[in-house]
């Protein structure tokens, strides 16, 4: 085969005035604007583009389009580029992928000699012994991984996605697709026409017939004048529930690829047909091409595919290829007609010769073998819509069966006709699509309770009154009397498939899995039906009996970059965050929140709180504003303890359990007014508790009058803690008496703080110190924080972070839900069993908590290591003596700067949950240390005198 550029063709898409230079395996080449990488190389006489996966056989052009399995190349850092489709650009660095040391001399081609041993699935039958050698075998096998190379430094260029809600999306821009788009648009629908190719027109683009070119010009003019949005070099990659479509746009001016998500009211599938290779000995030799490839090479890029050709033709496309070849001066050595029983048995020859051997054994000298053996209907989008296409042996392809009403097929997928017939069917399909889209739009709108009223009744479902397309008879040509490649990407031959079927892998799915046929980059577009045919033959059944595989998304592959788009996972910060950043903060990520972990020395922060006063930004604390006459009942239902008698101005701690009795959340809730409460939740539980509350109110107690407003970020929250906190607060507060009697522990007051009205504060003490937790309208958070810092400088005020707070809460023995408890921790295990009031009529989890009272449960306890300098890791296991029997674990541990010793919380078996019990803790180092359970959870100030002060 010697391909070469010819004179100007009337249909060509190249601009011969615009020469583009590029590199191919390091050597300089050139092509024209409008060339694909493959057409430019072919025009320059290149005939080998890749090496096959297993046998490293040389491979050349097969289909000269996107689906060509032999034209996968590396372009710069972009692996597996389809050279049959990707347009040439100036300066491209193109390399072949699966060859070493070079494309023309590949060492692994020696595998070809071993072909009879490397039958499909051979690896399952060997390399079992000796077992210790398997990792080495595996490394060798892995070197056969095909494909390009990724460059780990490739930046993740963020690509925004596009969302669109067209009435009609037409997938495929051949004559039927264009007519469908035009007709739907004329009927008033908004229409998006998606062309997989670089320009619209489908097969008309590479037809030299004058009538075809006239029709193409007419269609393009009509499109230009219409409101149809046309996307080229774009593919509808998937049809998902309710016509949610993924569309990849490969020619976006900025993004490498862009993902468009379209909610189409109707989808028209008009992908055309894919030409199917024919299976015979030597069918993968460079120089054996499909008729479509020949026509594209000649008509689009002015490339003469060879000097002397044998054409095997079973249809009009093959006949047209003969005419195209003759026009550019290719000598036609023979035309073998597949419709009258002619066949090709094999190819022979070396290097550039492709001598065709016909059925009677005669060899015809040639350098090009063009094959037109039939079509595969790419029914992918229909499959994804739930349709199961049906095989018609008379037409030798699959046809749609019964797609849902919002998916319509037209063009070659639906049947055969002359150009006018296809156009008429396309137009009728477009009108039907528009009518059905109007009905869908009406239905969606009328079912939205609060949408604007919709005029008129819902249109009756538009019936399908299209005149069906015909089905041209076509011989069932799948395999000649010899065996050849079925899957070029995977190097799977028909012989492999027959052997697999005889071995028992005789359904399509089993054979596919066993041989890996159809699993490669073309995903069955070229090879599925030949695979089915080979199995049918082996089983002595028909293609209909064997059935086909289900085509899964995506129709065409798309990059992870396009799918990922921009990552919309924002972080949250409080309004005080700028202050933290300006003050040497060390940040910790807690869920979505960025929080101050410490400001350099958490131990010093703890000592300062215990001695003076400290401030911590606790804005992420969940806050729900509850209003209404039934809030008390709601609280009693959700918390395990009692709430009906909580007075106005009082605050109470509550624990929530789920219906299975497992601890869900905890926090304090204060009563701000007669019908007004503020509930706080854990920071991580804020969202979940809100939904939990709404669920109970809306589904179990819809008659209760409670209004819930999440106000977590409406307030900035500051905890002012330490013996000097009252003094500090008195300097900034107006309108509230901070005296211990007037504002005792576990009460709440509203106040003006640092001139900011509408604040509320409660006296609670997670740190175990006298403390005021201030909730300030969020916009004033930073101001109030700065006022507190300024006013307290003589008191030694200093910020403290999450780490300091965690140390102090551990000193006080307060558990953290989710850290000291887990997904199975029942309410009584926390040690707060006395909170659970089983005499309440009803509350979440009541039955389980009642039964739990009789069960022996693991318990949360405070633990002190015998060696005060050893801090066991959080997660260190508590074991029985020298054994490996697990009796519990350390859930929290820190070194206490207050007590100058290590302190812990842990969960232990019930019989160990008694003060004074000696435990063995297994450290991560493997060392076992002694530790003791202490009497109560608080390591420090168990009587709570400091926080009540």
């Amino acid at each position: 085969m010697t391909m070469s550029r010819q004179g100007v063709q009337p249909t060509e898409v190249i601009d011969r005035a615009a020469k583009l230079r590029f590199r191919w395996n390091g050597k300089r080449f050139s092509g024209f604007e409008g060339d694909t990488i493959a057409s430019a190389l072919a025009a320059s006489g290149e005939q080998i583009f890749s090496r096959s996966m297993k046998y490293h056989r040389p491979r050349g052009i097969l289909t000269a389009d996107y689906w060509d399995p032999n034209l996968m190349v590396q372009v710069g850092d972009d692996p597996n580029v389809r050279a049959g489709h990707r347009l040439l650009e100036s300066g491209m660095d193109v390399r072949s992928q699966n060859a070493w040391p070079s494309l023309n001399r590949d060492i692994k081609a020696a595998n070809g000699l071993l072909g009879r041993f490397l039958t499909a699935g051979f690896y399952y039958k060997t390399f079992m012994r000796p077992q210790w050698l398997w990792p080495t075998y595996e490394r060798v096998l892995a070197t056969f991984a095909p494909g390009g190379k990724i460059d780990l430094d490739t930046p993740h260029a963020y690509h925004d996605k596009r969302y669109t809600h067209p009435d009609v999306v037409v997938a495929g821009a051949g004559p039927a697709g264009i007519e469908a788009a035009l007709a739907a648009s004329s009927a008033g629908a908004s229409v998006m026409l998606v062309s997989h190719e670089h320009s619209v027109g489908g097969h008309l683009r590479y037809s030299s017939a004058a009538a075809d070119q006239a029709a193409l010009a007419e269609l393009r003019t009509a499109l230009d004048a219409s409101d149809v949005e046309v996307l080229t070099d774009s593919t509808v990659t998937g049809r998902y529930e309710d016509n949610w479509l993924g569309i990849v746009q490969r020619n976006h001016p900025i993004a490498v690829e862009r993902l468009i998500k379209a909610r189409a009211k109707t989808l028209v599938a008009a992908p055309g047909l894919i030409e199917r290779p024919y299976v015979f000995e030597g069918n993968d030799r460079p120089g054996v091409i499909t008729s479509g490839a020949a026509r594209r090479l000649v008509n689009l890029w002015g490339v003469k595919p060879g000097e002397r050709a044998v054409v095997f033709s079973a249809n009009a496309e093959g006949d047209a290829a003969v005419a195209d070849l003759e026009r550019v001066g290719t000598e036609i050595a023979a035309v073998i007609d597949g419709r009258t029983g002619g066949s090709i048995s094999s190819t022979r020859g070396s290097s550039r010769a492709v001598d065709a051997v016909v059925a009677d054994g005669a060899s015809i000298g040639a350098d090009l073998l063009v094959v037109a053996a039939g079509w595969t209907a790419p029914t992918s989008l229909l499959n994804m819509a739930g349709d199961r296409p049906v095989y018609d042996p008379a037409a030798a392809r699959f046809f749609p069966s019964d797609p849902p009403s919002n998916v319509l097929a037209t063009g070659g997928l639906a049947g055969d006709a002359d150009l006018d017939g296809l156009r008429q069917h396309g137009a009728a399909t477009g009108r039907l699509a528009a009518a059905r889209a109007a009905a869908v739009r009406h239905r969606l709108q009328s079912r939205t309770a609060r949408a604007l009223p919709v005029d008129g009744d819902e249109p009756a479902p538009a019936p399908d009154e299209r005149a069906p397309l015909g089905r041209d008879p076509h011989p069932e040509l799948y395999r000649a009397d010899t065996h050849g490649m079925v899957d070029m990407s995977e190097d799977i031959s028909s012989k492999d498939l027959v052997a697999a079927a005889h071995e028992g892998y005789d359904s399509v799915e089993l054979a596919k899995r066993y041989t890996t046929a159809t699993m490669g980059p073309s995903q069955g577009k070229l090879e599925t039906v030949n695979t089915v045919a080979a199995i049918a033959e082996a089983r002595g059944e028909t293609i209909s009996q064997v059935g086909t595989t289900v085509w899964r998304p995506p129709y065409a592959p798309l990059t992870l970059g396009a799918l990922a788009g921009r990552m919309f996972e924002p972080v949250r910060v409080s309004s005080i965050h700028p202050w933290h950043e300006a003050n040497n903060v060390s940040i910790i990520q807690a869920g979505q929140w960025l929080r101050p972990d410490h400001y350099g020395d958490p131990a010093a922060e703890v000592r300062n709180v215990r001695r003076n006063v400290g401030l911590i930004d606790v804005t992420p604390l969940g806050k729900l504003d509850l209003r209404g006459p039934d809030v008390g009942k709601l609280l009693s239902l959700l918390y395990v303890n009692k709430w009906m008698k909580l007075g106005v101005g009082r605050v109470r701690y509550g624990m929530m359990c789920a219906e299975d009795g497992v601890v869900l959340d905890d926090g304090v809730t204060g009563r701000l007014g007669e019908d007004h409460y503020m509930m706080s939740t854990t920071s991580s539980g804020a969202g979940g508790v809100w939904e939990w509350v709404e669920n109970w109110l809306q589904t179990e107690r819809p008659d209760w009058q409670v209004h819930v407003t999440p106000v977590t970020t409406a307030y900035a929250s500051i905890n002012v803690a330490g013996p000097k906190s009252r003094e500090l607060m008195s300097r900034v507060c107006e309108g509230v008496d901070l005296d211990a009697e007037a504002f005792p522990y576990m009460t709440v007051h509203q106040a003006t703080v640092a001139g900011v009205a509408g604040c509320f504060m409660w006296r609670i003490g997670f740190t175990g110190e006298l403390s005021f937790e201030l909730h300030v309208p969020a916009g004033h958070g930073l101001h109030v924080w700065e006022a507190l810092m300024d006013s307290g400088s003589d008191l030694g005020v200093a910020p403290f972070g999450l780490e300091g707070q965690r140390i102090m809460r551990l000193e006080k023995g307060h558990f953290i839900v989710g850290q000291d408890t887990d997904g199975l921790t029942l309410g009584p295990s926390t040690g707060l069993g006395s909170l659970i009031k089983l005499d309440k009529d009803d509350f979440a989890g009541k039955p389980e908590l009642a039964w739990a009272a009789d069960r022996s449960l693991p318990m949360v306890v405070a633990i002190q290591p015998d060696d005060p300098d050893v801090v066991p890791e959080e997660a260190a296991q508590i074991v029985r003596g020298d054994t490996n029997e697990i009796l519990g674990r350390i859930t929290s541990s820190r070194y206490s700067p207050t007590l100058n010793r290590s302190i812990c919380l842990g969960q232990v078996e019930p019989d160990l949950a008694v003060g004074g019990t000696k435990l063995t803790v297994l450290l991560e180092s493997g060392e076992r240390i002694g530790a003791t359970v202490i009497d109560h959870h608080a390591h420090f100030d168990p009587a709570g005198e400091r926080l009540r002060g």
Partner: protein, 436 residues
């Protein structure tokens, strides 16, 4: 007659390099991996579901307990469900001592499998990294590591520098939205060629006389003496199954299905704590090897490994709503790609080639339901969520023991259906939200 002939067949040829060479030279073909048998009217045990669990159960019934008059029924083809749709990850670094002991046995059986079943299942123990992106998840990793070590499982927490050494493509800088603080590293973890496991068990079971019946759908379970209609339900006993190919009598019926576990159990009057959700997966085009280990991120709901063929195989968590449809969704691949690029920004030009999904039976405590039911002779091996494949060998071994002896083996005591009656759930929930 066909059944008798089948059972008396002569020993089929072993797989080996020498046999491969001999047959290659002589152009001989291999015999069928398993026979096509006529369906008998009666068996000593019927296994419903021809996936890895059902086939392993049948294999161990024959191998360990001499029960060879056993039929495995599948409504489609062998391995057509979750067995062929999973991402083939095998590991034993679970959170609970029960889980660790159970899966450790499974890893051990996987290590022996190629030799025992005489088929190369390509168990690639390439190491398994579970990434931690927060303090809280790092704490859980430590917890798992400690429990693993006590159970004799090789597992430890490593820091970003070591992670980078094991897996250079991961972004261990502090730039990402979810920086990598550390990882649970489990060297024996890896991937297996899942189809080979299916075929290996089927072939080995077939050699011992077990019959595999494809395209054989169970439409009802026949019971007597139960408290429900038709003698189904608690207190009764199973007498056989009804299929699209006729009734079969059997004193033992084992439900080894996934996706249809609830529907099959309902046929015996047994209600299960199961909701069925699809689990999706995707694969990219191949590129040369660059990812040496299996990488999992629980916070980002993604796991990824590179096959010997060079493809990246991804999975995530189950779909959010109950579903029996396996069509897949775009939001799955979008989310997956975003999370993968968060971990490995360098792969943004790799292309997704195919996505698929399988059905997972989720239980409230992320642990399976195994063993006896209130219907005598009706056993279940179900509720395998997203972790069934890795447990197949040990599940088969233990279920076979339960069925053959009538007693619950110690290794699966914790997974009994009765735990949902007495509220004694298994504690894997915390660790297993994405437990691959």
């Amino acid at each position: 007659m066909a059944g008798l002939a089948g059972r008396l067949r002569k020993r089929p040829p072993k797989y080996s390099a020498a046999a491969l060479a001999w047959k290659g030279l002589r152009g001989q073909s291999w015999p069928r991996v398993w026979r096509d048998c006529d369906l008998q009217r009666s068996y000593d045990a019927v296994v419903i579901g021809g996936g890895v669990h059902g086939l392993a159960t049948a294999y161990y019934l024959a191998r360990n307990h001499g029960m060879t008059n056993v039929a495995v029924l599948d409504k489609a083809y062998l391995g057509s469900g979750g067995s062929g749709r999973n991402t083939a990850i095998v590991r034993s670094n679970y959170l609970t001592p029960e889980g660790v002991a159970f899966y450790d046995r499974s890893v051990h059986l996987y290590e022996q499998m190629a030799v025992e079943l005489n088929i190369n299942v390509m168990f690639s123990q390439r190491g398994h990294l579970t990434l931690a992106h927060s303090d809280a998840s790092l704490r859980t990793m430590h917890w798992r590591a400690e429990v693993n070590k006590l159970g004799g499982v090789n597992s430890s927490v490593i820091g970003p520098d070591e992670i980078k050494k094991e897996c250079p493509s991961l972004d261990t800088s502090d730039h990402p939205r979810y920086p990598i603080h550390g990882a649970l590293y489990h060297p024996p973890g890896g991937v297996v060629r899942h189809d080979a496991v299916v075929w290996g068990y089927a072939r080995a079971a077939d050699h011992m006389g077990v019959e595999m019946h494809q395209k054989t759908e169970v439409t009802d379970i026949l019971c007597e003496g139960g408290d429900g209609p038709d003698g189904k339900g608690a207190g009764g006993r199973v007498t056989g199954v009804r299929t699209n190919r006729g009734d079969i009598s059997s004193p033992i019926v084992i439900n080894c299905t996934a996706g249809w576990a609830s529907l099959i159990s309902t046929m015996a009057g047994v209600r299960l704590p199961i909701t069925t959700h699809p689990l999706q997966a995707a694969v990219t085009e191949p590129v040369k090897m660059f990812l040496p280990t299996v990488v999992v991120s629980g916070s980002l709901h993604v796991y990824v490994s590179q096959t010997d063929r060079g493809e990246l195989v991804f999975g995530a968590s189950v779909d959010p709503y109950a579903n029996y449809s396996v069509r897949g969704s775009l939001e799955f691949t979008e989310g997956l790609a975003g999370h993968v690029l968060e971990l490995m920004p360098g792969v943004s030009r790799m292309r997704i080639l195919r996505q698929w999904s399988g059905l997972c039976d989720m239980t409230p405590d992320y642990s399976p339901v195994m063993g006896f039911t209130p219907v005598d002779g009706f056993l279940v091996d179900v509720g395998w969520g997203t972790y069934g494949f890795k447990a197949a060998p040990v599940s088969g071994e233990q279920m076979a023991e339960a069925a053959a002896t009538g007693r619950t083996p110690k290794l699966i005591e914790a997974f009994a259906l009765s735990r949902f009656d007495n509220g004694e759930l298994v504690g894997e929930k915390g660790a297993a939200s994405v437990g691959h």
